[in-house]
């Protein structure tokens, strides 16, 4: 009895931190989203669904949600397959450089997203590395526009999120051993069958976690779509940002944030369903 009480007491500091830093702000956000229009007369109504009505009625916001999900899916579908071989290599390597290589793979996390995004602007810009090289080689006669758009946003997001994907894939490969692949090969499986029947299924928990993480991080990213999009990429986060800083329509920003939260929630529910199915295939 007392030990159980003690165990619960141990939860207390974390619980307090969670309430203060997460629950309270979210509650505040919800509260704000139900506030009346900013320019309506004061004392009009305590609770108003105006912001939500505005979101649901305006086709633009539907399009923004679709755009957000689409970029998230594309980024996920590129990042996870690109990170998988790197994670496999790192988990297999017996070289003394393995530690260094693993550190290098996650080293980009040491620099801020802003700096890395600017790095991509330098590479993709109108007078950037790629355009100058292609012009110099005579492949192009006019610079092509690579920056300021969805393409640039996706490229930068993929690169920025790869370290996260690599770490989570590595963490979820516990059941995959070289011996299992060798056993399959000796049983007559050619390389690609070993990969499809043994490597991928056993790495699936890691791949799934990586997909969740990358998707969530990409739909919630602000700096990259803002800077790489050049004002042409509209996603939920950029919309929330402009509503809070420029339009000063906080109820609308609150409603959009709630929408984003709901999106997170449904993705996490999907992930948990898939994870449970993985654990218990029956």
């Amino acid at each position: 009895m007392t030990t159980r009480l003690m165990h619960r007491m141990l939860l207390l500091p974390g619980l307090v931190a969670l309430v203060v830093t997460f629950c309270l702000p979210v509650a505040w956000l919800l509260h704000m989203s139900f506030m009346p229009e900013p320019d309506s007369p004061p004392g009009h109504a305590a609770i108003s669904f105006h912001a939500y009505a505005q979101v649901l009625e305006d086709g633009f916001y539907w399009w923004v949600v679709w755009q957000t999900v689409r970029i998230g899916l594309v980024v996920t579908c590129l990042t996870v397959p690109l990170s998988f071989p790197i994670a496999l290599f790192l988990s297999r390597s017996t070289s003394p450089w393995r530690g260094t290589l693993a550190a290098l793979a996650v080293a980009p996390l040491l620099t801020s997203t802003v700096i890395r995004t600017y790095g991509w602007m330098v590479i993709l810009g109108r007078h950037g590395l790629i355009n100058r090289t292609l012009l110099g080689l005579g492949v192009l006669s006019m610079p092509v526009r690579l920056d300021n758009g969805t393409f640039a946003t996706i490229v930068a997001l993929v690169e920025i999120l790869m370290p996260y994907a690599i770490i989570s894939i590595l963490g979820g490969m516990g059941r995959l051993t070289v011996e299992l692949e060798q056993a399959a090969a000796l049983l007559g499986a050619p390389l690609w069958k070993v990969f499809m029947r043994i490597t991928v299924p056993l790495a699936l928990p890691g791949l799934l976690t990586a997909s969740l993480l990358v998707f969530v991080l990409s739909i919630s990213s602000l700096v990259t779509p803002q800077l790489m999009g050049g004002g042409r990429v509209f996603v939920l986060s950029t919309e929330i940002f402009s509503q809070t800083t420029q339009a000063l329509n906080w109820p609308l920003a609150g409603a959009l944030s709630t929408l984003l939260l709901a999106l997170f929630g449904s993705v996490i529910v999907l992930y948990q369903r898939a994870a449970r199915r993985l654990e218990d295939p029956a």
């Binding site: 059941r175 051993t177 011996e179 299992l180 060798q182 056993a183 399959a184 090969a185 000796l186 049983l187 007559g188 499986a189 050619p190 069958k193 029947r197 043994i198 299924p201 056993l202 295939p281």
Partner: protein
């Protein structure tokens, strides 16, 4: 380099000069291992931990690239044959069962890779499961099996494709004594029934002696001797093999005259007439070859050596009896139920000359 010896006429598995040195290691893990194995025979690779057994087995399987030498199976050089075409079944020390498949799918995996249609495959899987007494566990998950059951699944999976060569890496190491003995008999019966050539790694000499047709004793990467269990036990090639297999007494000896050798501080001992050498060599006698006599009827004082009982210990069915003879401590054996000496009692030891084996080197 010495010219390679051609394979024996009846060799099915032919291994020549396989060598592997891991990077950063001062000596090869396996050094020029060579042997031939006839079709349907079972060879035990016996040696202490770290002597290179697994490395040799993995080189034969193609999992570790050798630095020298070659492997031929059924007359075919396996040098460039990819893993999935080698037709070798392997039971890994860790079993390496696929955790995301049930028992039946594990066992059927090899047949599925061969492209066998599902109906035929199911029948073959059922037959394998029956042979290994697993028919009730067909749709169990691997994590829900006991160690012995997992071991049988691994065996069934390796045998299902009817491989030309079966490789077993200490498959019984994780099992308790009773189960180990039962599984040993089961593996042997299956191997004979399916007439599959088999190589198994073990560090348990009883397992090797009782199960295999032939034994290769390894030490520090070198195959010390290869032969039938009787050969290895009765006629060990060197001091290492004699000491590794079974218990033995070793005495230093100088050749004296035909039929006689002199053991320092002990006197003359009878040996086989044809033995002849220079300098000091080692005489080996197995404990059970020695007769222990009590009560001074010194009929043949010359052949016997006299000593005092130091220790007597019961080992189930028989007694181990240590006797100090001069500076030497001799291990002997006494049947339970015979008259037993007491500690400190004077006894005479003797044994037939042909049970004394002369080995190179000093003890």
């Amino acid at each position: 380099m010495a010219e390679t010896i051609p394979p024996a006429a009846d060799a099915f598995l032919h291994v020549r000069d396989l060598t592997k040195q891991y990077p950063g290691s001062p000596r090869p893990a396996v050094d020029r291992a060579s042997f031939d194995l006839g079709k349907g025979r079972m060879l035990a690779l016996l040696g202490s931990s770290g002597c290179g057994k697994t490395t040799l087995l993995r080189m034969i399987a193609g999992l570790v690239p050798p630095q020298g030498g070659h492997v031929m199976l059924g007359g075919r050089d396996m040098g460039h044959v990819p893993l999935h075409q080698r037709q070798m079944g392997m039971v890994f020390q860790s079993y390496a069962l696929f955790p995301h498949m049930d028992v039946a799918r594990n066992v059927g995996f090899g047949l599925e890779m061969k492209g066998m249609p599902a109906s035929q495959r199911n029948a073959a899987v059922r037959r394998m499961l029956e042979l290994t007494h697993l028919e009730n566990l067909a749709d169990r998950r691997i994590s829900a099996l006991s160690g012995g059951q997992q071991q049988r699944v691994a065996l069934a999976r390796a045998l299902a494709t009817e491989p030309a060569l079966l490789l077993l890496d200490e498959p019984l190491a994780n099992l308790d004594v009773k189960l180990r003995e039962a599984m040993r008999a089961e593996i042997r019966a299956l191997q004979k029934r399916m007439d599959v050539t088999c190589l198994f790694v073990t560090h348990d000499q009883d397992e090797a002696l009782s199960t295999a047709d032939e034994i290769a004793v390894m030490s520090e990467g070198v195959i010390q001797q290869i032969g039938t269990p009787q050969d290895i036990y009765e006629r060990p090639a060197n001091r290492f093999v004699a000491g590794f297999i079974g218990r033995a007494n070793f005495l230093p000896a100088l050749w004296q005259r035909p039929g006689w050798a002199e053991v320092p501080e002990l006197g003359l001992l009878a040996i086989a007439e044809h033995e002849r050498w220079q300098g000091t060599r080692t005489l080996m006698v197995r404990p059970h070859a020695i007769r222990v006599r009590m009560g001074g009827d010194m009929t043949d004082a010359l052949r016997a050596c006299t000593g005092h009982v130091v220790d007597l210990s019961y080992t189930g069915g028989r007694y181990g009896c240590q006797v100090r003879v001069g500076p030497y401590l001799m291990e002997t054996e006494l049947e339970a139920g015979t008259r037993l000496p007491i500690r400190g009692q004077e006894v005479q030891l003797d044994w037939p000359a042909h049970r004394t084996r002369v080995l190179d080197g000093t003890p």
